[in-house]
């Protein structure tokens, strides 16, 4: 439906546009007086949100427990790096992502036995389960309320160049490269026959099942992929901040990423990045205006309600539909 079905003719234009955007994004932020670090933070949330979009936007599964995987990936990656168990940053990220994906496969295999509100509440229960595991029984591993400080930042040698992620712009480039890779893969996924089945499940699970698709398996793979995206983003969060916060596991985090995805536009892949940008910049922007500094979240909540009620496609979805109409009129 949105962003073209299998075999649409956009070719590589979307990937090219996203790459171009990632290159100019720090300069754009500079125009508004915002720093590069803010951009890095937005990209990390955008990456996390790609996973949410895969299960919610494309498959129609509303999960209130995605923070479980964001936190799991984050704390596994942070531990591996802090304790020098894995010397390579990319290796630690890969393992963190894998562990989050395994956690996702486990939670998914249970939660996906239910649909609708029961699925939403089960994912919420598992999210809380992970939060309280992190908070108490696993505190030796997670630092409990204090989180884990001292996550090292990498420096990469790329032939004659070095990418120094200890600088703001170096970190941005590192995260942007991974975001682009994540976006690229997600777009391959949703444009594949596999992605077409996911959309079929969203539109009508009974019919998808009736034409012979193993609906539970497709859902489980989508859920596992979403957990992997969450885990990767969580790992990047710890590296970017040099500190892994326990709030990554919180129910607020699960709620925020859903709000960002819906504001940006579910079913677009780029939507969560737009939503994360709006969320982060609005918070930053409104906090500088004294009269309304305290109500940035109130404004976002109202925007969210209006979008859910009248504009289910969100900002990016609306823009894409508008663009398509312009082209059709021409």
């Amino acid at each position: 439906m949105i962003l073209g079905p299998v075999g649409d003719r956009t070719g590589w234009k979307v990937e090219g546009a996203v790459a171009l955007f990632l290159v100019v994004f720090p300069s754009l932020l500079g125009l508004f007086g915002a720093g590069t670090d803010l951009g890095t933070r937005i990209l990390i949330l955008g990456l996390f949100g790609i996973g949410v979009d895969l299960i919610f936007g494309f498959t129609g599964l509303l999960s209130f427990g995605q923070a479980a995987f964001y936190g799991t990936g984050g704390f596994v990656t942070a531990n591996l790096l802090i304790r020098h168990i894995v010397p390579s940053t990319l290796g630690a990220l890969a393992i963190g992502t894998l562990v989050a994906a395994l956690a996702g496969a486990f939670v998914g295999s249970l939660a996906l036995r239910q649909v609708g509100i029961y699925f939403a509440m089960l994912t919420l229960a598992f999210g809380q389960l992970f939060y309280f595991l992190e908070n108490s029984p696993l505190r030796a591993f997670t630092g409990s309320e204090n989180g884990l400080p001292g996550v090292p930042k990498p420096v990469f040698a790329l032939g004659p160049w070095t990418l120094d992620a200890t600088t703001s712009i170096g970190m941005y480039a590192f995260v942007a490269a991974i975001y682009f890779g994540g976006f690229f893969i997600a777009r391959r996924i949703v444009r594949s026959p596999f992605g077409a089945v996911l959309r079929a499940i969203r539109e009508n699970p009974e019919r998808a099942s009736a034409v012979g698709h193993q609906v539970p398996r497709y859902k489980l793979v989508a859920f596992t992929l979403a957990a992997a995206y969450g885990g990767l983003a969580g790992g990047l969060l710890g590296i970017f901040q040099g500190y892994m916060p326990p709030e990554a596991f919180s129910i607020d985090q699960s709620g925020e990423i859903i709000v960002m995805t819906v504001i940006g536009g579910p079913g677009t892949l780029i939507g969560p990045l737009v939503g994360a940008g709006v969320w982060t910049l609005l918070r930053q922007g409104l906090q500088n205006v004294d009269a309304i500094a305290g109500i940035w979240k109130l404004i976002l909540g109202l925007v969210f309600i209006v979008l859910i009620t009248g504009f289910r496609r969100g900002l990016a979805g609306g823009a894409i539909a508008f663009w398509a109409r312009l082209r059709a009129a021409r």
Binding site: I117, Y118, M121, L122, Q128, P137, L302
Partner: protein
């Protein structure tokens, strides 16, 4: 020791039952998971706190909590919830989740994010000796308030014309409307009833909790645990679920304090997997 913890579990469970009751009313009668429940709880707590501390009357506090959340419930239902009865469950969850954020942020804008200390009313400030256990009087009084609230709400739903209309409307809204009854108005009143019970819980719990605007988040999650364990939309389920949840927390705390909350969510997940309608729930609702 175990007896004391069992009693503690019952007291904690009654509070949880009261907290979940508003959610269960709306869920049971309208089939609507109200994720704004925590926000309504906070609105009631603050409205009650304002009246209570200004006029030094606990009763006025209760009336303010009930009145304000009832009015807020009416407004929300007319403006928004009404549009969502026929939309997918996911949309209902999302819109009420958004509403919860808005309510909490309005409370924060009006009252700042600082802790509010809500004093225990003077008639309930002491402690009671129960066997070898000293127990705060107010917590025992809350058990009484919960009991009264349950009876009143039960009477409204099962013994009044409004309850009759709503229960008939759930079975077949079309037939009820053909009888010339305004089912929309009945739904509105039920939503407002659920909202004001949530608000009442907020005020009654306020002296026990530290009152901050985001008290609602924890409350929403706890309430979901209670109604899931007890039975979605089941009246007795809220009580059973509350007490089971209270006992799980209370008893696990004795043996493995680190695992108390974990055990609660394991129980919730198990119930959802094995008996999704909950211990007392009926299959086919919601």
């Amino acid at each position: 020791m175990i007896e004391a913890q069992l009693l503690n579990g019952v007291a904690l469970g009654s509070i949880l039952a009261l907290v979940a009751l508003g959610l269960t009313i709306i869920f049971g009668l309208l089939g609507f998971v109200n994720f704004a429940h925590g926000g309504l709880f906070a609105v009631g707590a603050y409205a009650g706190w304002l009246a209570y501390t200004r006029y030094d009357s606990y009763l006025l506090g209760i009336l303010a909590a009930l009145g304000v959340t009832f009015a807020v419930g009416i407004v929300i239902e007319r403006l928004l919830i009404r549009l969502y009865y026929r939309r997918p469950k996911e949309d209902q969850i999302l819109v009420t989740f958004g509403l919860g954020i808005v309510l909490v942020e309005i409370v924060r804008a009006l009252f700042t994010g600082q802790n509010k200390l809500v004093p225990t009313p003077p008639w309930a400030s002491g402690a009671v000796q129960l066997a070898d256990l000293v127990y705060p009087q107010y917590r025992l009084d809350v058990v009484g308030i919960v009991a009264v609230t349950l009876v009143v709400v039960w009477a409204i739903i099962f013994k009044t014309r409004l309850g009759l209309i709503v229960r008939a409307g759930i079975d077949d809204a079309l037939i009820v409307e053909m009888l010339g009854i305004d089912i929309g108005r009945a739904f509105m009143l039920v939503f407002a009833l659920g909202a004001c019970v949530a608000g009442l819980a907020g005020f009654v719990d306020a002296p026990i909790l530290a009152l901050t605007p985001d008290v609602g988040t924890a409350v929403l999650v706890q309430s979901l645990v209670v109604i899931v364990i007890g039975g979605v939309g089941s009246f007795g389920g809220a009580i059973v679920g509350g007490i089971v949840a209270g006992e799980i927390i209370s008893l696990t705390s004795v043996f493995a304090p680190d695992w108390a909350q974990v055990a609660l969510y394991i129980a919730m997940a198990l119930v959802l997997l094995v008996r999704p309608q909950g211990l007392l729930g009926v299959v086919g609702r919601a």
